[in-house]
């Protein structure tokens, strides 16, 4: 017996609204043995009315003070963080089958995400991004001779990737803070949190009820997709190159297009961290960085470079990492994988074990009943992971040489977690930045960038905002 989850949260089309609720036809996809996803199939007429209603809501939203938006979103975050709130349990129970995560990992991700949606964190975000967040509400005199104000789009259309649950909600919140109505098409692996978030936000703030719509459809297949690309003032797209490319070509040139294509991250462990005191701790934080999101995040390391010449050599550290991966598997078990993902692990792991068996210097540390795998390579290089907790370790004689090995993936490189670089860190950061990295951090912080991070190198609101200067005039 399957539970059916409606991957859809639409405006109420209330009696005050000029548009009547559209009659929708629904499709169903079985996403697991226990859960099916139901989504509406949009015809042109219904799609047009939805977008019209959202634009109308966007115009009203522009009049809402930003501090109210922060407060309301924060209340929803507090509910997700409250282990006694039914919405928390509903979210976790549905994330497990839809995102292919264990219950423990789903809970960890929900808490980690919702922490950054609280009023406190959003206030801090606005404070860091704006000299005075009141510029979002009206003209502020910020410097001599001019006042400025910032306006967001009337309507943003968000297309989620679905690899990590919660990312789409963060994207919606950013748009709401700049007072944009939101239409989100989540990825299949991230349908639950946006729908529950939108429902809860409508409960906390009926004023926002008609400003946010979430509805799933298989990418490229809906009349709503084409119409939304034509109608929205800004498009925010997460996904693979093909998906992004397709959306970009269908978006009018006058529409702002903000793209987050797939990225990958790596780790570096230097000699200074390879002392007998530090090495086990670094292995534990590295194991957590690799395993968080079952390695499906753009911040998840695919590869870790380990410097030779420390008290703990790369082989010993690989064993420590393997042991930490095993511990973490017990604490935050891996999820049930799709056939494709599982197959990819079997192929990559089995091939590595044959290279190990061939007498090369390759060594493989692996789980017997789950997917985590540590592959210690014998030559410098880069091998993208098949994900789901498979990490390759490359010994390197000198951390500073790693940037060269990363040049070939520069277009995809994002986070570099560095431990034990000592006073070489500034020089190393410069080299990594030349190689294309946009974030250098610790393993501990790698999975959870703060809300104000320069995601893929851009300011949080830069793509969404239009700044208006009011210069002194007579």
């Amino acid at each position: 017996m399957r539970t059916t989850f409606d991957a859809c949260r639409l405006p109420p089309f209330s009696s005050e609204s000029p548009t009547a609720p559209p009659t929708l036809v629904w499709e169903t996809i079985d996403v697991s043995e226990s859960v099916a996803i139901r989504y509406p199939v949009w015809a042109d007429g219904a799609a047009g009315r939805l977008l019209e209603a959202l634009r109308g809501a966007g115009a009203r939203l522009a009049e809402v003070p930003v501090r109210d938006l922060v407060k309301w979103v924060g209340r929803v975050a507090d509910r997700f963080l409250d282990s006694g709130d039914p919405i928390r349990h509903k979210a976790v129970d549905l994330m497990v089958p839809t995102a292919g995560l264990s219950k423990e990992m789903a809970t960890e991700i929900l808490i980690g995400m919702a922490r950054d949606w609280t009023a406190e964190r959003l206030t801090e975000l606005l404070r860091r991004e704006f000299q005075d967040p009141a510029v979002l509400d009206g003209f502020c005199r910020l410097d001599e001779g001019r006042s400025v104000r910032a306006r967001g789009p009337l309507l943003t259309f968000h297309v989620g990737a679905g690899t990590v649950p919660g990312v789409s909600v963060t994207s919606m919140i950013r748009a709401l803070l700049v007072k944009s109505a939101v239409l989100l098409k989540p990825g299949l692996g991230d349908v639950v949190l946006p729908v529950l978030f939108a429902e809860a936000l409508a409960e906390e703030a009926p004023e926002l009820s008609d400003a946010i719509s979430v509805t799933y459809w298989p990418g490229g297949s809906s009349a709503l997709e084409d119409l939304a690309l034509q109608t929205a003032d800004a498009v925010v797209a997460y996904g693979g190159n093909e998906a992004i490319g397709s959306l970009r070509t269908r978006t009018p040139v006058t529409t702002r297009f903000i793209a987050y294509h797939h990225r990958l991250s790596v780790g570096l462990v230097g000699r200074e961290a390879l002392t007998s005191e530090r090495a086990p701790h670094v292995a534990r934080t590295a194991a957590r960085a690799v395993s968080m999101f079952d390695q499906r995040g753009c911040v998840s390391p695919h590869v870790i470079y380990v410097e030779e010449g420390g008290a703990v050599d790369p082989g010993e550290w690989a064993a420590l990492l393997g042991s930490a991966m095993a511990d973490l598997e017990a604490e935050l078990p891996g999820g049930t994988l799709t056939a494709a993902d599982a197959s990819a692990v079997h192929q990559m792991r089995g091939s590595a074990e044959l290279r190990e068996a061939s007498g090369s210097g390759v060594r493989v540390f692996r789980a017997n009943q789950s997917f985590w795998t540590v592959i210690l390579e014998d030559e410098m290089g880069f091998t993208p992971s098949c994900l789901n907790r498979v990490v390759s370790l490359f010994p390197t004689p000198d951390l500073c040489r790693v940037a060269d090995a990363l040049k070939e993936v520069g277009g995809y490189l994002q986070t570099v977690a560095v431990e034990g670089a000592g006073d070489r860190l500034p020089m190393l950061a410069e080299a990594l930045c030349r190689a294309g990295a946009t974030r250098v951090t610790s393993f501990e912080n790698a999975p959870w960038p703060p809300p104000w991070w320069h995601h893929d190198g851009a300011s949080v609101f830069a793509g969404l905002l239009r700044w208006i200067d009011l210069e002194e005039t007579g």
């Binding site: 056939a339 599982a342 079997h346 192929q347 091939s351 044959l354 190990e356 068996a357 007498g359």
Partner: protein
């Protein structure tokens, strides 16, 4: 060591040739499989170390299903030779990897064993007359028609690293009495004129033929034909064998549409169109047709979904749960894992990236586990087939 392999290979080849096509009883397969496994552990140090890490030895294996598999991608990682590697007769290369430098290699110690496997299996499915041919047109010795092979693939001399070309070349020599030819030129372009003439000639002489090639080459061929008026009406008994999928390298056709187009263009009923499921990593193949009944009449009620790929008697195929790797019951989709005795000189047990479902009478391939890189016989050729002259 090599003598041991030579005698094993001879014994296997004889068993293949003497096998009428019915599945071997499990105990018969099991005895062979454990003999091959023992040979592989003894002579293949890499595989032996891999097996040892799993705590398995020939003496601990109580049943062939416990023999450790290698992933298909392992053929890209290390040479897998069970025997004297200085005696490798041919290295076949996989195609279709995104990284051409890392193509899979199947080092073959004994091409005769490969020949014995492919010929016995192909004869049973495609040259059997009675159950295989639609019109009773057979040879005096009771076997099926000779069926010249017209191949939409490069010849084995032009493409010695292609296992498909080797297979078709061997079949042309042994089963087709040397009749037929290869219609892909060395630069990868289809010899459309030559193939047209050969098809016209076969039709004029009333000689049924086997038209065989990669799926995407057929798509290119069909596209060329579309620009011409009329198709062919091949003599009854003609068969079409397609293999390898489209690999994202030609227009993708759904199978019913593809078969309808092939049937229409060549005058071969859909029942006479066969998919060969094979891979460079395995020296045995699987066919899902033709689907004629015993008297040679078509069985139109057999849908394409109802077709089954049938392992030859010396192959067992298991369907494994992708997450737990335990064997699944019939009807449940999972990863296909083949145990192929014709691989005695490399590694017998190979876990593929293909999803399939097992049934009592064979298995159905559901396609590649999505997300895996495209591969198969078709791809390398398609790089060359950028333009078919028209």
């Amino acid at each position: 060591m090599s003598d041991a392999f030579a005698s094993l290979a001879r014994a296997l080849g004889t068993a293949f040739k003497e096998s009428p096509g019915d599945p071997w009883p499990d105990d018969v397969f099991d005895r062979w499989a454990r003999r091959v496994f023992a040979h592989q552990v003894e002579t293949n140090a890499v595989y032996a170390a891999y097996v040892r890490k799993r705590g398995v030895t020939p003496s601990t294996v109580a049943h062939w299903s416990e023999i450790p598999w290698v992933p298909a991608s392992a053929f890209k990682a290390v040479p897998l030779v069970s025997g004297d590697s200085s005696r490798v007769q041919r290295v076949f290369l996989t195609s279709g990897t995104t990284d051409a430098a890392r193509r899979g290699e199947h080092h073959v110690l004994d091409l005769d064993l490969y020949r014995d496997s492919l010929i016995a299996n192909m004869r049973h499915h495609l040259y059997a007359g009675g159950s295989g041919g639609p019109d009773g047109r057979g040879r005096a010795d009771g076997e099926g028609p000779i069926l010249p092979i017209l191949a939409l693939a490069p010849s084995p001399t032009r493409s010695p690293e292609s296992s498909l070309s080797f297979m078709l070349g061997t079949a042309l020599d042994v089963l087709s009495g040397g009749e037929g030819g290869f219609f892909v030129t060395e630069d990868g372009v289809i010899d459309t004129v030559g193939l047209s003439e050969a098809l016209v000639e076969a039709t004029a002489h009333g000689t049924p033929i086997l038209l065989a090639g990669t799926a995407f080459a057929f798509v290119h061929w069909l596209e060329w034909l579309q620009g011409r008026s009329g198709g062919f009406a091949l003599p009854p008994g003609s068969l079409i064998m397609e293999t390898g999928g489209f690999k994202g390298r030609s227009r993708v056709l759904e199978r019913p549409e593809f078969y309808a187009a092939l049937s229409e263009a060549h005058g071969v009923p859909v029942e006479g169109i066969v998919n060969e499921y094979g891979m460079t990593e395995l020296l045995s193949q699987f066919y899902d047709g033709p689907v004629y009944d015993g008297r040679g009449a078509a069985t139109p009620e057999m849908t394409l979904e109802a077709r089954r790929h049938v392992p030859p008697p010396w192959v067992r195929t298991r369907v494994l749960d992708p997450n737990t790797l335990s064997a699944l019951s019939n009807g449940e989709p999972g990863l296909l894992c083949h145990y192929d005795l014709a691989n005695a000189g490399s590694v017998m047990a190979v876990l593929t990236e293909d999803l399939g479902v097992a049934f009592d009478d064979g298995f159905r391939v559901l396609g590649r586990a999505q997300g895996a890189e495209p591969r198969g016989c078709s791809l390398a050729m398609d790089d060359l087939l950028s333009g078919v002259p028209s």
